[in-house]
Amino acid sequence: MTREQLLRTYLEDEIFTENGYLEPGEFDSFEWNDKRRILIIEVLKILIKGEIDKEGKATTVRKANQFISNQL
């Protein structure tokens, strides 16, 4: 599975539409480089990338945590 396929699979979860991050059905065409840069999706991308790149768990978590802190 590519990183985009993985991302789309996560975005299919109803939590993203229920909480207003995405429009219903939007997940299917969502692109990795989506310009809106929705925070939760950006964090998810860091986690997916960490997995695809076989990065250490602690490293990925630290990166994601730092990213959220910088954004908030």
Partner: protein, 726 residues
């Protein structure tokens, strides 16, 4: 890539040079047990992994442990002193670019003065030949690994290359984690698992950040610390309870699974018990009949005497005797009558004499005196010798000797056998009655013996049938008589265990709820101690990470469930295809979840589990599931890229499913190589394979040893004949 050919040179039973060529479709190597099918499978495995399947331990072993079995015994025996070589060459072709790859493994031994030394290790040579170019040796390990991966990737190897005996282990119903593991290995679910782990760690990290912040803003630091201690204690307690819950759930799952397996076996077990009881009853009858027959056979000869069978055919003797006896009696009576008449005359004379003078009057002494004096001393008259008077006196001398005789005083015959003959005659009369019944008696005895023999035969047949049925059930179900007796008790015990563990699960869940409630209250107390506002950004961060954690968890579950649905759908497609040509038990394969693990079951249209499946059916479900694991990975095109190689996968299926299996395999995999004995024994089945319309057939070979079965143990002369059938 597809396997184009295998060349075997002095490998195991393949003495000399041997070659199999294969094409796309299902390629079948037919041979009876011990004819070399598994050795062919070993040859492929040996080249790839330097291992062969050890049938005694049922596992693959490095060939350095089994070197002395690799080289053909005949090659070793016939070779002169020097080097003996064995090799197997696999030739694969990549149809996309027409590149050809050969992998050749060699093993050498040396022979000196008849002594063989297997000291050396095997070696492997890999070559690559691009279309229209000459072959080049590949000595770069990474390149070799790439080629091996092109032949068969490691993660799917066990589901593409397997021995019939391994099917049980590949999808082990007793260990439902096998299927979960297969799903994990063959899908991307591990990515989702890892991402879930990361989101959980992130969520936990930001929660700790929040707690740290809250503690720094506490109006009562001491209380906050105390609450923190309590929280840690409760969290430990919660972790402990969750551990216990997991254990109880696992125990319950195992008990329910065991119970379900036992329930599956219940009918078979009951049948085995019934058959065992019946067998015992028939055996008892058989022994009785056997005993009676023995007695009959033992007493048969005695009856020659006890039942006078010895006299059979002697009727004439008795008749003759009777006649002779009758004549004898008649003669005797006649003689008796004659003597009687004579006696009567004589007695009359005596009586007459006695009327003149009384007996002994005159006394004999005077009579003698009268004869001497020639004068009657009674009347004093002269009685000259020769005169009537003299004769009259003389008659008085003889008179004294004569007495009246009775018949009993007279000897009728010199030897009188009358009584003996009479006794014999009477005895004969009795024997005649017996003789008249001898034939009937012999006839009845023979009939009874035959009846007992027939009954014994019937009982033997019945016993054989019962034994055969029992053996079949035992083979099919792996339940022996002792186990059958224990199954009902085991089932009760497992149900009780499951019940007890479920009570524990309920209790633990309540405990967990209690602790979680306490934790929540504690969190609230903790928050109440906070003076001022916690950084909203931090709270938002926690909320975001919680959302992310929830999304990751539910996505993982959804993906896994979808995978299971796909697998189920594929397994059913294969199962239906394999079973549609016969009237076997139908059903739908359901991958049932038990506490997070999945195990295949067969259900009816109402989702009720079908129990009492036979071994063939269970193996079919497993084969369908194995095939589904590969074919469900549609995006990977595994079934088109790699060859299915299986030794005796159909051995437990039974003839009914064999063609169905071949058809399904040929339609699912681009290339498959199947070793089978089913087509060896059943010629109709072989014809069906060779002429089957729906089978995408590759090459079919028949392998036979060069020696008759009785001489096959002499491996020093053994080689294998390979005959192409199409």
């Amino acid at each position: 890539m597809i396997l184009q050919s295998i060349d075997l040179d002095n490998f195991m039973c393949y003495y000399g040079e041997n070659r199999f060529e294969f094409t796309e479709g299902i390629n079948v190597i037919i041979g009876d047990n011990g004819y070399g099918k598994s050795k062919l499978y070993d040859a492929i495995y040996w080249v790839m992994y330097d291992q062969v399947f050890d049938t005694s331990s049922k596992e693959f072993k490095p060939t350095k442990q089994l070197n002395n079995t690799i080289i053909s015994d005949r090659a070793l025996h016939e070779a002169e002193d020097g080097q003996i070589q064995c090799s197997v060459t696999l030739t694969f072709i990549d149809k996309r670019n027409e590149n050809t790859y050969t992998l050749q493994r060699q093993l050498k031994a040396t022979k000196e003065n008849g002594e063989i030394n297997f000291g050396s290790k095997s070696s492997r040579r890999v070559t690559k030949k691009k279309a229209y170019l000459t072959a080049q040796v590949v000595d770069n390990n990474e390149e070799i690994e790439r080629i091996e991966k092109k032949i068969i990737p490691e993660n799917i190897r066990h589901y593409m290359w397997f021995q019939g005996e391994q099917i049980e282990k590949l999808i082990d119903f007793r260990d439902n984690e096998t299927l979960t593991q297969a799903i994990n290995v063959l899908s991307d679910i591990s990515n989702f698992d890892n991402i879930s782990e990361r989101t959980e760690a992130l969520y936990s990290q930001v929660k700790n950040e929040l707690k740290k912040k809250q503690r720094s803003l506490s109006k009562d630091k001491e209380k906050s610390d105390s609450l923190e201690d309590d929280r840690k204690q409760l969290e430990r307690k919660l972790a402990e309870l969750k551990g216990q819950l997991k254990e109880a759930e696992e125990n319950s799952r195992k008990a329910e699974q065991k119970s379900s397996q036992l329930l599956n076996k219940l009918e078979d077990a009951q049948r085995i018990r019934e058959l065992d009881d019946k067998r015992k009853a028939v055996e008892k009858d058989f022994n009785n009949v056997h005993q009676q027959l023995n007695n009959e056979q033992l007493t048969f000869h005695k009856k020659m005497f006890t039942n006078s069978w010895l006299l059979k055919g002697t009727e004439e003797l008795f008749e003759n005797f009777s006649e002779q006896y009758s004549k004898y009696e008649e003669d005797r009576l006649n003689k008796k009558a004659e003597i009687k008449a004579k006696l009567a005359v004589e007695n009359e004379l005596i009586k007459e004499l006695q009327t003149r003078l009384p007996v002994n009057v005159p006394e004999p002494i005077y009579v003698q005196q009268m004869l001497k004096e020639q004068r009657c001393l009674v009347c004093n008259r002269e009685a000259k010798e020769g005169s009537d008077a003299y004769k009259s006196i003389e008659s008085l001398v003889n008179r004294s000797k004569k007495e009246i005789k009775e018949l009993s005083d007279v000897e009728i015959a010199k030897h009188d056998f009358s009584n003996s003959f009479k006794s014999l005659y009477h005895n004969g009369l009795n024997q005649e009655k017996i003789i008249s019944r001898v034939d009937e008696d012999i006839h009845n005895t023979l009939i009874r013996t035959q009846e007992l023999l027939d009954r014994k035969g019937e009982l033997r047949e019945e016993l054989d049938e019962i034994t055969a049925e029992m053996e079949n059930i035992v083979i099919e179900t792996s339940i022996d008589t002792d186990q059958a007796k224990n199954i009902i008790n085991d089932l009760r015990a497992q149900n009780k265990y499951a019940e007890r563990f479920n009570v524990d699960i309920g209790y633990l869940n309540n405990q967990i709820k209690e602790v979680e409630k306490k934790l929540k209250k504690l969190e609230k107390d903790y928050e109440d101690l906070v003076v001022g506002d916690v950084d909203k950004g931090l709270i938002k961060k926690v909320d975001l990470c919680e959302e992310l954690y929830n999304a990751a968890t539910s996505t993982r579950d959804r993906v896994f469930k979808r995978l299971i649905d796909t697998l189920e759908e594929e397994a059913n497609k294969h199962y239906l295809s394999m079973t549609q040509d016969n009237l076997s038990v139908r059903g739908i394969i359901k991958l049932r979840e038990y506490n997070g693990n999945y195990t295949p079951e067969l259900v009816d249209e109402n989702d009720n589990q079908l129990l009492q499946l036979n071994t063939g059916n269970i193996i079919l479900i497993k084969l369908a599931t194995i095939m589904a694991i590969i074919s469900a990975r549609k995006s990977t095109r595994d079934t088109a890229l790699y060859t299915l190689i299986s030794d005796a996968p159909m051995s437990a299926l039974g003839d009914d499913y064999t063609i169905g299996f071949c058809k399904t395999v040929s339609q699912t995999y681009r290339q498959s190589i199947i070793m089978s004995k089913e087509f060896y024994k059943n010629e109709d089945l072989r014809r069906e394979l060779l002429n089957g319309n729906n089978i995408n057939l590759g090459k079919v070979y028949m392998i036979t040893p060069n020696l008759p079965d009785s001489e096959r143990t002499n491996r020093k002369k053994l080689s294998t004949n390979i005959k192409p059938l199409n």
